[in-house]
């Protein structure tokens, strides 16, 4: 195999960096929403709770293309929300990398909320009660007790969301298409290469990168989860 086989083209590097950026922004952006929803579903009983639960989980069961189409309909330049956001706040999602991040976030949200909800449900309420009797307001209880004790699950949820974002394809391509350098993530680039005669070497390069990034993310999450859980549980 010639050494040129490992020389990444400019487009490939762009796709790789874009994918990491999109996944990172999607994960960080989803985190506050995921924590709020996870806490709401784990700790609160309110009318419409089942509906909210269903809505959050919808992207998990809908065909990704449908999710992408719904995003396009709502947030595209012609969409009712998209038009308003563009006119009043100057925020545009369609055919921008931010749209790719949004699509990834929506697809990753159910996975993150599930993990965080389980983590918060498993926090023993007696710790929260103890904190309350010691004089902590509900807000202080949340940040000083609930959140730290749920941290390992929150990390797990963030990693799931990140992994989902790395591989997101259907919703992204439907919502923001695959514009090289703007919205063409690794998965989209790889798909394009498989449709191009004689691009096998390039396709393999991206495949390799996908594998390496995924394994690195897994290992990093494992390390982080262990660190956090050691901090929470305490050791000798």
């Amino acid at each position: 195999m010639p050494s040129a086989a490992f020389a990444f083209s400019h487009e490939e590097i762009e796709a790789i960096l874009l994918t990491l950026k999109v996944a990172a922004v999607a994960t960080i952006g989803t985190l506050p929403v995921g924590i709020a929803l996870g806490w709401l579903l784990a700790r609160k009983r309110f009318p419409g709770r089942a509906l909210l639960d269903g809505l959050v989980h919808l992207p998990l069961v809908l065909p990704p293309v449908v999710t992408g189409y719904l995003l396009l309909a709502a947030l595209g330049r012609q969409g009712w929300m998209g038009a308003w956001l563009a006119d009043h706040l100057g925020i545009v999602f369609s055919f921008r990398w931010t749209g790719a991040a949004l699509a990834s976030a929506v697809m990753g949200l159910p996975l993150m909320v599930r993990a965080i909800r389980l983590a918060i449900e498993s926090v023993d309420r007696r710790y929260e009660h103890a904190a309350a009797t010691l004089g902590s307001s509900p807000l202080v209880v949340f940040f000083s007790i609930t959140l730290p004790l749920a941290a390992p699950g929150i990390v797990a949820g963030a990693v799931l969301c990140f992994a989902k974002a790395l591989g997101e394809f259907g919703a992204t391509i439907t919502f923001v298409s695959a514009i090289p350098g703007e919205t063409q993530t690794l998965a989209a680039a790889l798909y394009a290469l498989t449709q191009t005669p004689g691009a096998d070497a390039a396709a393999w390069r991206l495949t390799l990168v996908a594998i390496v990034v995924s394994i690195a993310a897994l290992m990093a999450s494992e390390w982080l989860a262990r660190r956090v859980s050691r901090q929470v549980q305490g050791g000798p």
Binding site: Y127, H129, A132, T133, L134, S137, L149, G234, G235, P236
Partner: protein
């Protein structure tokens, strides 16, 4: 209710849960109050209501003149704004802080809580400094350790310290010794006693162990099926006849005596009591100090004449107040002492007949020193 009495408690609440109704009324100024009853009797529910972790369907709770909840007046003070500390059965120490962190947490949020409701006008909140609490509970060596590495007894000591540092006006204990083995119980009990005696902290103590309650409480409320069945000093409440039978408990007697002196040669502390002399192994207290004895009815033997040639060193004389038995083999004898205290003895019905004892007879109650020993409490 007298608002000037800072520790007065006034509770009148109802709470319905599936298959359970709590209808609880209690008011008075108790010092150390024990809620005593079987598990499922509703005693822990009362603590939850006092701490604000539960809301009553109807009723009110006032502590030291402060209304914590009153459904009629739509008042509900949330737990973090009450000056009510709670020590949980299994301590509930925060696993993500070390001992120092747990204590500082209470100190920080307990003192800082704005709008905390207290009757500061009538009584200063008991504010103990960090170092005082560490000394009182012997926590110095534990400060840097994580809760997971502590023994059950150490954990409970830290939990008590944590509750104290939140500057409560009232401290609630939810079966703090129930999850501990005998050794650990012995480790904790003196600290709780010290709290009552030295810190003067009003306490509500929930337990289903008669001897714990007898040792700690100034007043005992016996709870069954969500209601107060009896209320009074431990000596009065823990001995009566209804303490037997289904749902009852092993009757105990509570008497108080003052230290006379310490017998160096035999290693016994001798106590003076109007009914006789009491001997206890080990050096306990200083002369003149009062000491509370908890005597199990099963540990008492009886004699119709002042016994000689027996090993018992503790012999208390009194008169028989009641003899009770059913067709079963065991009879129960209530003996009134000159101090107006009462001792209950469980002996065989055969012994009652053969000794020919009857109401009003003079009788001698004998208790082995080893049964009086505080260490036997934990067995």
């Amino acid at each position: 209710m007298n608002a000037a009495r800072s520790t007065a408690i006034d509770i009148e609440v109802t709470l319905r849960r599936r298959g359970f109704t709590l209808d609880f009324r209690l008011s008075g100024d108790f010092g150390a109050l024990a809620l005593f009853g079987r598990s499922g009797s509703g005693k822990s529910t009362v603590l939850g209501l006092m701490a604000g972790l539960l809301r009553p369907d109807r009723g009110h709770i006032r502590v030291g003149g402060v209304t914590l909840v009153d459904t009629g007046r739509r008042i509900f003070i949330p737990p973090h704004r009450r000056r009510v500390g709670l020590v949980f059965q299994d301590s509930a120490l925060f696993p993500h802080f070390d001992v120092r962190g747990n204590l500082r947490y209470a100190e920080r949020f307990g003192r800082a809580s704005p709008g905390a409701v207290s009757s500061a006008a009538t009584s200063p909140v008991l504010a103990l400094a960090f170092d005082d609490v560490v000394d009182l509970l012997g926590l110095q060596r534990l400060l840097d350790r994580r809760p997971a590495t502590l023994s059950g007894g150490e954990r409970q000591r830290v939990a008590i310290g944590r509750a104290l540092l939140s500057s409560p006006q009232l401290l609630l204990f939810d079966e703090p010794l129930a999850s501990l083995d005998a050794e650990r119980k012995l480790e904790i009990l003196p600290y709780i006693l010290r709290l009552r005696e030295q810190a003067g902290m009003p306490i509500v103590y929930v337990s289903h162990a008669a001897d714990e309650v007898a040792r700690l409480a100034d007043a005992v409320a016996v709870i069954d099926a969500g209601r107060v069945q009896a209320l009074g000093p431990p000596g009065e409440v823990l001995a009566p006849a209804w303490a037997r039978g289904p749902g009852g408990f092993a009757a105990v007697s509570v008497i108080e005596a003052r230290v006379r002196d310490y017998d160096q040669a035999y290693g016994l502390t001798m106590f003076d009591h109007p009914a006789g002399v009491i001997a206890l192994p080990g050096r306990i207290g200083r002369p003149g100090e009062p000491h509370r004895f908890v005597i199990r009815a099963t540990d008492v033997a009886l004699a119709v004449q002042r016994p000689r040639d027996v090993s018992f060193r503790t012999v208390l004389s009194g008169t028989i107040e009641a003899i009770e038995h059913d067709p079963g083999p065991i009879a129960r004898i209530d003996i009134r002492l000159p101090s107006d205290e009462r001792i209950v003895a469980l002996i065989t019905r055969k012994a009652v007949d053969e000794l020919a004892i009857d109401m009003g007879d003079r009788i001698f109650a004998m208790v082995k020193a080893t049964a009086l020993d505080e260490r036997s409490l934990a067995r």
